[in-house]
């Protein structure tokens, strides 16, 4: 359900489906898990996601936790309005950098 590509040392991940919720959050975790290793820099390009619920959020937080354990990092780029509603509710920006564009996010990794 996900597509990835590398840009520099950053792995950019985007969803092939438009939602990340209770129906597919487990699958999302399973597919992201192999990408994590060493000091992985992961960027989730959320522009294709029209809907994320608390299960999807849980999956993202699970990935973040695994990354941080291994010295990696996660950033999110281009959330749609609907997703931003969720991120705002849980104040996700307190632990994850969320950026309006992919470029902004990539720039943040370098910084």
């Amino acid at each position: 359900m996900i597509s990835t590509r590398k840009q520099g040392d950053v792995t950019i991940l985007s969803s092939d489906v438009d939602h990340l919720d209770a129906s597919n959050s487990k699958q999302f975790k399973q597919e992201v898990q192999p990408l994590i290793g060493g000091s992985t820099k992961l960027l989730i390009d959320a522009s294709t996601l029209k809907f994320v619920d608390s299960s999807g959020l849980g999956a993202i937080l699970s990935v973040l936790r695994d990354l941080k354990k291994q010295g990696g990092d996660l950033k999110i780029a281009s959330p749609t309005a609907a997703i931003q509603v969720l991120f705002d509710l849980v104040r996700l920006e307190r632990i994850v950098g969320v950026y309006a564009s992919r470029e902004d996010a990539l720039g943040a990794f370098d910084g």
Partner: protein
């Protein structure tokens, strides 16, 4: 035949030869003989000592035999001395003359030994038999008379009566000492009564506290044979050495002793000693003595009880003189009033003391007699604890006196049947109890009036399409249940139903005060906010601020349900401060749902913030409010009425008007209680709104399988409906939030809430009003405490638990409701 004393025969004849031969014959047969030569000498001899028999010649110089026998003195015991005439003449005429003159027999001269002795012997034997009968009759007479005198004897005359009888018997037996000994316990006995013949020294003074065991043989005889009969002390058996050593020095020759028996045990004895001569007592005599002993014993026992009574009376007098209670000393197992204490006059005044129980009962009010009688009946029965006192009233025309009566048996060694009744004047206490009762009733009346006039004013509603019905049944102890209604606008209806902790007038005043606070706060808000409707949270929190401190000080609290019905847009906003759930009857589905909030009662926590919740309703839905007294009503098996029965009653009567529903529900509760009484007020308020839905109202309803795959289609469907309806009204973000909350709710339900997921269905209803939206999801599930779910912090990177948080954050009201048939409903409201 052995004689301790020989029979004395007077031989009268002028012929010395005849005298000599007759004397020889008589003495040879063991008789004692005295002689006289003529009639005069014979009379002189008789005057000195009365013989048993006179043998007299018929023809003598001077006074002849026949003439002389007419002048003989009477025997000591009465009756003539028998005379046998001797005559030489063998003539029938002379014999007849002699017999006619009073002779008992006739002997021919010259005297022949065989004839003489035969005649004398026969006469002596007859004489002895007669004497015995006479003696018996005399003893019998004394014993009988003693018995009579004993019965009649006053207690003070006991000793005298015993003494008199004892002296008569002693004289009859010609004994030298007669005595009564009584055992005293401790192995000693005392000589209590004694009479002696003239010339005999009384011994009583020396015979006090004598050890009983100095007479071991004697005691054994008394126990075994019931008599000690010693004709000759010198002939006592060897085992009676101890007795002989005591008796012989006193010069006692013969004695007889009979026991005094109490309950079959030897308790003393009565005896007669003969010092001057030997004496025997016949079986008849000892038997009569035993009977005399029994009479003496009865008298002594009676005297002992009387003495004990006298002693108790004295003690009673001494103890009760200064005591205000009236003591009744009673005998005969509480039948006879022996004595009363001075305290009696304080209760009964100058009435003479009653003589017996009947007399006592007559002084008692007829309604209370049986109870007192039962107490007296039970008084003497031995028991571990004393009987509870009985409270009775005096009879009569004067002012009633209340008396508390208690009884106590007086224990004596010998169960004399004595008891005491204590009567205490409790009129003052009764009067103050009555005053307290009256005051309580007055207070109750006041609180009832407060409740009726202030707390439970007839609710009204100014809407033709709304109905309200209320009923309150005050319990025996009125408390502060209250309800009130406010209609701030034509389109809203506020209802407060509250239960103030506190009974009687305090509770009622508190109820009135708190009710007034709500009105005050509402008025303030109206003044300050102009025409805007004061929010129910403002009213409740404001009122709570004003009363919380006082409630806390008094350790009191108030449960309360504040409801505001929006009549046009069909929404109920409510604050539940620990009150009973609101029952929401859905007219369309004919099911009842229980609406609960999550706030604590007023006065629990000073800083409690009261949060309103919202649910939607439909035209013709019914809301029922009730106090805990309704569901906590118990029947005779201590079962509670409960929500189940209440809901059943509502569903059964839902087609009726609200007044009728309330009335029938009350009847149902009453029928359940079946006269058990109510310890709490019963308050039931029902409202129903018939106003139709607004024209711009839109609804989406659908049923889906309760599985996670249903979430996305439901989400998409509602998202579209919301977008269509609120496109120009609600910002996109708001719609996104609603969809997110819906999504979280559905996921929670399908993952955790549904009890049987395989065939379970989700009923989803989206209600869209101009200014608010309602989402209801109904599913099979169990009630749970949805108010206790905590909010996770995203920084802890938890994967789960954000759902409830998101719902509460995005929606204005999230409530879980349940019915009692395994149904759950999630109801969410969002203001647009």
């Amino acid at each position: 035949m052995a004689h301790s004393t020989a029979e004395l025969i007077l031989l009268v004849d002028d012929d010395a030869l005849t005298r000599r031969s007759a004397r020889h014959f008589l003495e040879s047969d063991g008789y004692e003989v005295i002689e006289a030569a003529d009639g005069e000498a014979a009379l002189a001899a008789c005057a000195e000592q009365v013989p048993t028999l006179v043998l007299m010649d018929r023809v003598m110089p001077g006074l002849d035999g026949v003439t002389a026998l007419r002048h003989l003195p009477a025997k000591s015991g009465g009756g003539a001395v028998p005379v046998i005439i001797m005559s030489a003449a063998d003539e029938a005429e002379q014999a007849a003359e002699a017999l006619e003159a009073g002779a008992v027999d006739f002997v021919r001269k010259p005297i022949k030994r065989a004839e003489l002795l035969a005649r004398v012997r026969t006469r002596i034997q007859l004489q002895a038999a007669q004497r015995r009968l006479e003696q018996r009759s005399r003893v019998e007479a004394i014993v009988r008379e003693a018995g009579t005198s004993f019965i009649e004897a006053a207690p003070t005359e006991t000793d005298k009566a015993i003494h008199t009888s004892l002296e008569r018997l002693r004289a009859l037996f010609d004994a030298d000492r007669a005595y009564v000994f009584q055992f005293e316990g401790g192995g000693v006995m005392s000589n209590t009564h004694e009479t002696v013949s003239s010339g005999t020294t009384p011994e009583r003074e020396h015979l006090q506290g004598v050890p009983i065991d100095v007479f071991p043989w004697w005691m054994e005889e008394l126990r075994e044979r019931g008599v000690v009969h010693i004709p000759d002390v010198a002939n006592l058996p060897p085992e009676a050495t101890s007795e002989r050593e005591i008796l012989e020095p006193q010069g006692i020759k013969s004695l007889v002793v009979v026991p005094l028996l109490r309950a079959g045990q030897v308790a003393g004895f009565i005896g007669f000693d003969s010092v001057r001569r030997y004496r025997t007592w016949t079986a008849d005599e000892t038997e009569l003595l035993a009977s005399f002993g029994a009479n003496v014993m009865i008298l002594l026992d009676r005297f002992r009880i009387e003495s004990k009574l006298a002693q108790v009376r004295t003690e009673f007098e001494r103890l009760t003189g200064a005591i205000p209670q009236a003591y009744f000393l009673m005998s005969g197992r509480m039948r006879t009033v022996e004595q009363t204490s001075p305290g009696r006059r304080k209760i009964w005044g100058d009435q003479p003391p009653p003589k017996d129980r009947d007399g006592l009962l007559e002084t008692i009010d007829i309604r209370d007699r049986d109870r007192l009688n039962s107490l007296l009946d039970a008084a003497m029965v031995p028991r571990e604890q004393s009987l509870p006192a009985v409270e009775v009233r005096t009879a009569g025309t004067g002012s009633t006196v209340w008396i508390s009566c208690s009884t106590y048996p007086i224990s004596t060694d010998d169960d004399a049947g004595l008891g005491v009744m204590i009567a205490e004047d409790i009129t003052a206490r009764k009067r103050s109890e009555q005053e307290v009762q009256e005051r309580r009733e007055r207070e109750l009346e006041t609180s009832a009036r407060i409740q009726r006039d202030i707390l439970l004013r007839e609710p009204t509603i100014s809407d033709d399409l709304a109905e309200i019905g209320a009923i309150t049944v005050p319990s025996e102890q009125v408390d502060g249940d209250f309800f009130d209604t406010f209609q701030f606008t034509p389109d809203t209806f506020d209802l407060i139903v509250a239960d103030v902790m506190g009974k009687g007038i305090t509770g009622a005043f508190w109820g009135a005060a708190i009710k007034n606070q709500f009105l005050q706060v509402a008025l303030e808000h109206l003044t300050h906010a102009g025409e805007r409707l004061p929010a129910i949270a403002d009213i409740v929190n404001g009122a709570h601020r004003n009363v919380a401190d006082t409630l806390a000080e008094l350790s009191s609290f108030t449960t309360l349900s504040y409801s505001r019905f929006f009549l046009r847009s069909h929404r109920l906003d409510y604050i539940d401060a620990g009150h009973m759930p609101i029952i929401h009857y859905h007219a369309r589905t004919e099911r009842c749902w229980l609406i609960k909030g999550d706030n604590v009662p007023l006065g629990f926590l000073a800083d409690e913030h009261y949060e309103p919740r919202s649910v939607s309703f439909a035209p013709n839905d019914l809301f029922l409010f009730y106090s805990d007294g309704v569901v906590e009503t118990i029947n005779e098996t201590r079962e509670q009425y409960g929500e189940q029965r209440l809901i059943a009653s509502i569903e059964r009567n839902a087609a009726q008007g609200v007044q009728e529903i309330v009335r029938r529900t009350k009847s149902d509760v009453f029928a359940f209680a079946r006269g058990m009484g109510f310890s709490d007020d019963l308050t039931i308020v029902a409202v129903r709104f018939r106003r139709p839905l607004e024209e711009d109202y839109r609804e989406v309803a659908a049923v889906y399988p309760a599985v996670v795959d249903s979430v996305e289609p439901i989400r998409n469907r509602l998202e579209k409906a919301l977008a269509d309806y609120y496109l120009d009204v609600a910002p996109r973000r708001m719609r996104d939030e609603i969809v997110l909350a819906l999504n979280e709710a559905l996921v929670n339900i399908v993952e955790h809430g549904v009890s049987s997921p395989t065939d379970a269905r989700l009923h989803v209803e989206l209600g869209m009003h101009a200014d608010w939206v309602s989402i209801r999801v109904t599913y099979p599930g169990q009630p749970f405490d949805w108010t206790r779910v905590s909010s996770p912090d995203v920084r802890e990177m938890q994967e789960r638990g954000y759902g409830t948080f998101i719902m509460n954050e995005t929606m204005d009201s999230v409530v879980y409701l349940h019915d009692l048939r395994g149904g759950m409903m999630l109801s969410m409201v969002k203001w647009i």
